[in-house]
Symmetry: C2
Subunit: 452 residues, 2 copies
């Protein structure tokens, strides 16, 4: 199936909607049956909530669970609310333990015990293991269903274990190697097992391993797994005993999730939990209003600053003309620095203890940028207006850029130190602070130059 | 190895730098040998360019190539420039075909033919196959080294092929199933092969497959591979014949690369190609100055707008006090809309033909936001200043938010239509346009209310 076929499926949306309106269920079945899991998912994602549940009910069972697994947790919740308890229980028990937890995180707390109760003892135990770890930790995203082997085992024995668990284990391509007390010693890939004679000892083909503890954040573990290109990253407890594996497809899912969140927050919106067109306007508004209010209230600071300088403004109205340019440039410089440093923090290129290095670098960057822009702006305004205005603009740009870059670079470090999300915390603070501070600098320089 | 051990390695940086200064090579070997590939990579990434090459030379050969593969393409280039041709040729031939292409994309064009010439005939042929596809296409990121099987083969025959190619193939866990003329018919997982009796026919256990053509973008293919949780996504030519596989670890690498780029551009900086602390201040400046200039030049539009209304400003200086607040709120609303829609486009939740749906939704969202903020702002300013100011502020907020959200929502769609990157194109345009237009609206309303 290629992209075109997905689009064809999406184009079925209107047809299916009409069929549902017309309660023509056989028609729906005929329309949906020929579609692949992927096409059905794309189609359902674009249907209104109630219709989604109706069409979902009409899918063949195996197809249905695959489709369900592809939905985002929020869509899964929407769907579940439209289904009967029996149907929900079935879906729930068909999911992998870690997928169950994704879903439970979404559902009203009251529902969780009932669903867990419906599971087989083994499933319930596996699931609650995963549920035991704090929200946002990799422990909650790892799979407890893996095939492990032991340092004293042979390749033949390991392969037997793989064969025995081919149906249950979520991952069979990377085997963690444990010692007698379940401590993680290394890993061996299925590929290497197949490559070796069955009497060879695991310890001979075992590779040095990289693991993370179940309490580290899911994002950090996912990024690690992706960077190392591991098919599965072993997860250990504080005593280095293996508790689960983070598979790379889950890692990719986590990274995509994080990416969406960061991108949204950087733009000052709460991330949407559903596809854009499936999100009611009301939710769009509420995903933005809070941020907009915070930023607007912050911006009133500029009103107060300006009222202090109202007299100066009345004397030299021309100063007002450059206000947006000055604060805009400051804001942009600040955001540039914040973006770069936030990213560096996320990738681990910069650590909290590097704060002074960052401060110095951004100071240098800000002064260079300010010098370049200030020179340019100063000359231009001198030509168009007069030298005194040119001097004011030039000096202000120099000062504002230097200040903005430094603050913009430091803010994410402070945010991190305060355990706040740098991406969220930095931008509003910067725009607010830099705007206000920038205006103060601007008018102080103006007063000095014009001897007011 | 856990995070702590990585940090320990990083903390070695200063020690190693001193050892290099002191030309104490045995000392370096002693310091580096006990470290894992991962630790060495983290350590080298933090060394200055010249020192990096020196230390790299001292690594044991197998370890060296693994470390090289972990470097970002830009770091790989830096390193290569510090090595002798012989050393470069060796590294180059040890890489996988697709990794060679990542690297060639980085190197000066002149170097490419020489390096390709050094390869074995088979390697050269495989590499140039991949090189044949346009930059940015998945054809350039896929691996041509995979194990395939045929619809008429048995499980036993397929497993034999896997065994035969265990050493060469980059991926052996997902086998594309082809017909006589290499058309892609389905896929079968190694897990299912191991699960089935050797006389079973492939066609019986084969699964429906999802593929993309080699000419689609690497980002789209990577996102698809991650969303489907495939270990490898088959890549076909325009006739649906298999040409390669995109492995999920490469997909994750591509997505991380894209994520870094988008995050940077959204913040108005060109993405850094090296870790922050390894990037010279000069490069930091040049990664920002262009954007800053573009935005500043755009912002001069506000100066022109304001000079038109200078007379009004002189009469009613109080209007100047609210300028930053008004344009700030407009800019924020616009960026919120742009961020949401850009994201929706990237995820395929919104398609270009949905432009009217988006327009209507953002119009609704903008008016709601504007009504809320306008009411609040209007009341507050009425209390603090006077009703006429309150009316001006209230109406302006309503108008600006409505306009900003609509434009912010449409811009990414236009950008996409113009084949420009929405993330890059939208924000500067919005901030420029919305600021200027916002000021015009503000002063027009003011003039109307105050009968100027």
């Amino acid at each position: 199936m290629n992209t075109q076929q997905i689009i064809d499926a999406i184009d079925l949306t209107d047809t299916v909607e009409e069929l549902v309106e017309a309660k023509n269920f056989t028609g729906i079945v005929e329309a949906v049956t020929p579609l692949s899991t992927e096409q059905v998912t794309a189609l359902l994602e674009r249907l209104p909530i109630e219709q989604r549940a109706i069409v979902y009910r009409l899918l063949p069972k195996d197809n249905a669970i695959e489709v369900f697994e592809r939905f985002s947790p929020a869509l899964q919740r929407d769907l579940i609310q439209g289904l009967r308890d029996g149907e929900v229980a079935t879906i729930f028990s068909d999911l992998d333990p870690d997928d169950r937890v994704w879903l439970l995180d979404e559902l009203p707390a009251a529902l969780a015990p009932r669903l867990l109760h419906g599971l087989s003892t083994k499933d319930r135990q596996l699931t609650s293991e995963v549920l035991g770890y704090p929200k946002g930790s990799v422990g909650r995203r790892m799979t407890p269903e893996y095939v492990s082997t032991r340092t004293d085992a042979t390749v033949g024995e390991a392969l037997q274990r793989v064969h025995a668990q081919l149906d249950d284990a979520e991952t069979v391509y990377t085997l963690p190697v444990l010692d007698g007390s379940r401590h993680l010693i290394g890993v061996v890939s299925l590929r290497d097992l197949l490559r070796s004679a069955s009497e060879v000892g695991i310890s001979e083909i075992m590779q040095d391993v990289s693991a993370m503890t179940a309490y580290e954040t899911a994002e950090a573990a996912a990024r690690r797994c992706a960077e190392l290109g591991f098919l599965a990253l072993p997860i250990v407890d504080r005593e280095d005993r293996l508790v689960g594996m983070l598979t790379i497809d889950d890692a990719a899912r986590i990274l995509e999730h994080e990416e969406t969140e960061d991108a949204a927050r950087q733009g000052g919106v709460e991330p949407l939990r559903r596809p854009y067109l499936a999100t009611p306007v009301r939710s769009l508004v509420s995903s933005r209003i809070v941020w907009l209010l915070v930023l607007a209230i912050g911006a009133t600071l500029t009103v107060q600053v300006l009222s202090v300088f109202e007299a100066t403004l009345e004397q030299v109205t021309v100063l007002a003309l450059f206000m947006p340019l000055m604060i805009g440039t400051g804001g942009n410089t600040g955001n540039q620095a914040a973006t770069t440093v936030t990213r560096a923090l996320a990738l681990g290129d910069v650590r909290p203890k590097d704060v002074w290095k960052v401060l110095l670098r951004e100071l240098g960057v800000g002064m260079s940028l300010g010098a370049l822009l200030g020179l340019l702006g100063g000359v231009v305004t001198t030509v168009i207006y007069d030298p005194s205005v040119g001097l004011i603009i030039g000096l202000t740009l120099l000062a504002v850029c230097t200040m903005a870059a430094t603050i913009g670079g430091i803010m994410p470090m402070i945010a991190r130190a305060l355990r706040a999300d740098p991406a969220v915390f930095s931008n509003p603070f910067i725009s607010t602070f830099v705007d206000a501070a920038g205006l103060i600098v601007y008018f102080m320089i103006a007063q000095a130059v014009l001897h007011l």
